[in-house]
Amino acid sequence: MPNSDYILEVKDLKKYFPIKGGYLDRKVGSVKAVDGVTFSLPRGTTMGLVGESGCGKTTTGRTILRLAGEKTGGSVLFEGKEVYDLDKKQMRALRTKMQIIFQDPFSSLSPRLPVGEIIGEAVKEHNIVPKAEYEEYIDKVMDECGLQPFHKSRYPHEFSGGQRQRICIARALALNPDFVVCDEPVSALDVSIQAQIINLLNKLQEERHLSYLFISHDLSVVEHISDSVGVMYLGNLVEYGKKEDIFRNPLHPYTKALFSAIPNPDPHAKMNRVVLEGSIPSPANPPSGCKFHTRCPYATERCKTELPIQREMEKGHFVSCHEAK
């Protein structure tokens, strides 16, 4: 049953990319980029999605927004409606409700359009505001995102990285969305700018009651912004729960290893680092059973054969591990 408290419910979402090869481009296999992700996002909150490079965070974000072609399995319910069941027209209407901010502010702005048009293009397209109020509306959105009205006539190449990211945020917010996927929005920026952008996102969330899916590999940023946190490993959500629970009491061995890698500014603090052996296996040919068993220090025979199911260990704290207690 769809719950109206949740703006987004993702159930067992799968997205495989075919590997083509051999004669006549036959499908010879698939990359299991997202392989069964389940979570739900309460309205007005932020969920952080962390994990190492290539674990499927970005694909998860894009698959939720139906930007990566058809899903392979599972369901994405946005405000209780299956996103992948909508026809073209309904989908276009839904686009205004869910938006995305990209990682690279340099490639995400069309270099041949002035900023005003980049931000306002979709506003006109969807008739968000009457024509008479259009200019005023764009100015307002730009102001909210820390941009000046005269920036409108400029081109992306005239802006710094932080400013470009503000433009991206303005473009997303101009459509007045309820849900924004922030796909590593700060990882291309230097630390001082990162803080500005994070604060801007926080401010906008308060003002507009936005829900974020905040994808990042920077745990401290996720800790700062998130209400809940999901940890991904090789296409699976291995642990998911409230930020406090996860950071206080990580249950999954991968989460533990990940958190032990957070640098501590105190040089005298004793570091109890969990060092993982080996490297991340190929998502085209993932290990059987628990995908983490090849690198897990606690792995048992059971882990090699049996896929762990998501278990609720505390209230709202889910983990996919046979050994977690």
Partner: protein, 513 residues
């Protein structure tokens, strides 16, 4: 602390201020970079000159491209021949005989003295020199039966057409007398041997010269002959004859020592095509082998070359952008299909095909204008695959850019995505390629026209202007036929390439070495 931050922000603002920083669109930036590139600007200037030269020049020039020019030429035509007689001619008295055998004996005997005798068989003859190369011949009974002289005698008046008169005449002429008495009449003899009576009527003439007309329709009058001989004897090389109608004609002589003949040439004024005329004020670059103004042909040729270049590139780009765009945007089996078609087109050897089609059109006698259209279509249809590949590649890479995902995420419709986001980003590379292709097309067109398979007479093209040079004589003697057209061709193609390079550098400053 907060004041400090505020000040800093204010400073930032002033740096960033609208009044301080001039906003430049990407297009303006490209233009600025382009105009900073001296080589490219040189190319642009050359192109501008070529356009003005071809389009404005063609309109301004007083001639048309196929206007023929004539010149007046005095052609020398053989008119008459004059030969000094060096053989004896014999005049016989009535009823007498002086056979050939006797003539030969006389020649031999004459060499022994001015007076003597000779015999042939049974007959015996006497001779006596009576003037210069003038001998009277008598028979054995001392009767004047004949005379031999170098002079040719012509008696106009029938009353005097008898042996005695002729004898007296030649005697007088060969002794250089200016008077002739015959019976009771008295005549005067001119230096040229013309005999006139007291009332200046020409009675007869005696001359050492044989004058012969060299064409059937020429009748040489006495006046003419008289003046001609006078001119020859005075040693001049030409003379002017005014006939009864007052028409003046100039004749020139040429003495041929081998045949001892003067050839009289008549100068005839004719209008001929003014071919291969060297540069003059009227024709600053001379005329071609048909007698057409070279400069005008060059202007019109530029028009044709540029027209063909632009239209061919337009056709190429239209097909290339549409097919390449469809291929890149939709991908999948459409992409596969179109790219295989591109591969097939790449395999077509275009030069042989064009040459064959050209000769087919020759055989079918296709109108030159329609032929030009066919040429453009053929070149256009053979040239698009390169552009299709370029556009496809560009669109494939642009499609994966995040700003394209962003347009999808913001729900912008497909037509706007293509025309507002994809196409403008393909245009830079497209413009560069098109510019380069323009130069190539002009070269191809010139090559075909030079081979006689492209643009045909009466239309001018730089290629078929150079085609006039079909032998080394023209090549070495008439520089103005091929150098200007060659220079135009070279400069235009070079300029297109320079501008293309300049545009590429301007569009992508990072590419610069």
């Amino acid at each position: 602390m907060s004041d400090e931050i505020k000040n800093e922000q204010n400073d930032n603002y002033s740096l960033n201020d609208d009044r301080r920083v001039k906003t430049l669109s990407p297009g303006a930036l490209v233009a600025r970079r382009f105009f900073r590139n001296r080589v490219a600007v040189t190319g642009l200037v050359i192109l501008a000159f070529m356009f003005i030269f071809s389009f404005v020049g063609g309109a301004v020039t007083p001639y048309t491209q196929d206007q023929l020019f004539y010149r007046n030429d005095s052609q020398k035509k053989q008119y008459a021949a004059v030969k000094e007689n060096t053989e004896f001619r014999y005049e016989l008295a009535d009823g007498e005989d002086f056979p050939t055998m006797a003539q030969a004996k006389f020649i031999l005997a004459r060499k022994k003295g001015d007076k003597g005798e000779f015999e042939t068989g049974d007959a015996k003859y006497l001779f006596e020199k009576q003037g210069e190369e003038f001998y009277a011949i008598y028979n054995s009974s001392n009767k004047l039966i004949a005379f031999g002289s170098y002079d040719l005698i012509e008696v106009k008046n029938k009353d005097y057409n008898n042996f005695e008169f002729k004898y007296e005449l030649v005697k007088a002429v060969s002794n250089k007398q200016d008077e002739l008495k015959y019976k009771k009449d008295k005549f005067s003899i001119s230096e040229d041997g013309i005999v006139t009576d007291s009332s200046s009527n020409i009675i007869a003439s005696a001359s050492r010269y044989i004058i012969r007309a060299l064409a059937n329709d020429i009748i040489l009058g006495d006046d003419y002959k008289e003046q001609l001989l006078a001119a020859i004897e005075s040693g001049s090389e030409d003379f002017t004859f005014v006939n009864a109608d007052g028409d003046e004609a100039v004749y020139s002589f040429k003495y041929d020592a081998a045949t001892q003949t003067w050839e009289i040439m008549e100068s005839v004024d004719t209008r001929v095509f003014d071919t291969y005329s060297f540069p003059t004020k009227k024709h600053p670059l001379g005329t071609d082998r048909n007698g057409m103004d070279m400069l005008t042909r060059l202007m019109y040729g530029g028009r044709v070359s540029l027209y063909i270049g632009f239209i061919v590139v337009f056709i190429e780009s239209l097909i290339g952008v549409v097919l390449g765009g469809v291929s890149g945007y939709f991908g999948g089996w459409i992409d596969n299909l179109i790219m295989r078609i591109v591969d097939v087109f790449y395999c077509i050897p275009s030069m042989p095909l064009i040459i064959i089609l050209g000769s087919v059109m020759d055989t079918m006698h296709v109108d030159p204008q329609i032929r030009m259209i066919y040429l453009m279509l053929i070149l256009g249809f053979l040239g698009w695959p390169g552009i299709a590949r370029l556009v496809r590649g560009q669109i494939l890479s642009l499609r994966e850019q995040e700003f394209m995902t962003a347009t999808e995420a913001t729900g912008i419709r497909a037509s706007r995505r293509i025309f507002r986001h994809l196409i403008p980003n393909v245009i830079p590379q497209l413009i560069v390629t098109m510019t380069m292709n323009l130069g190539n097309t002009i070269i191809t067109e010139a090559t075909l026209s030079f081979l006689g398979l492209g643009v045909k007479f009466p239309f001018a093209s730089w290629g078929n202007i150079i085609n006039d040079v079909n032998d080394t004589y023209v090549l070495t003697n008439y520089w103005f036929i091929w150098i200007p057209a060659g220079v135009c061709l070279l400069a235009t193609v070079l300029a297109f390439n320079l501008v293309g390079d300049g545009l590429r550098d301007a569009f992508d400053p990072k590419m610069k070495r």
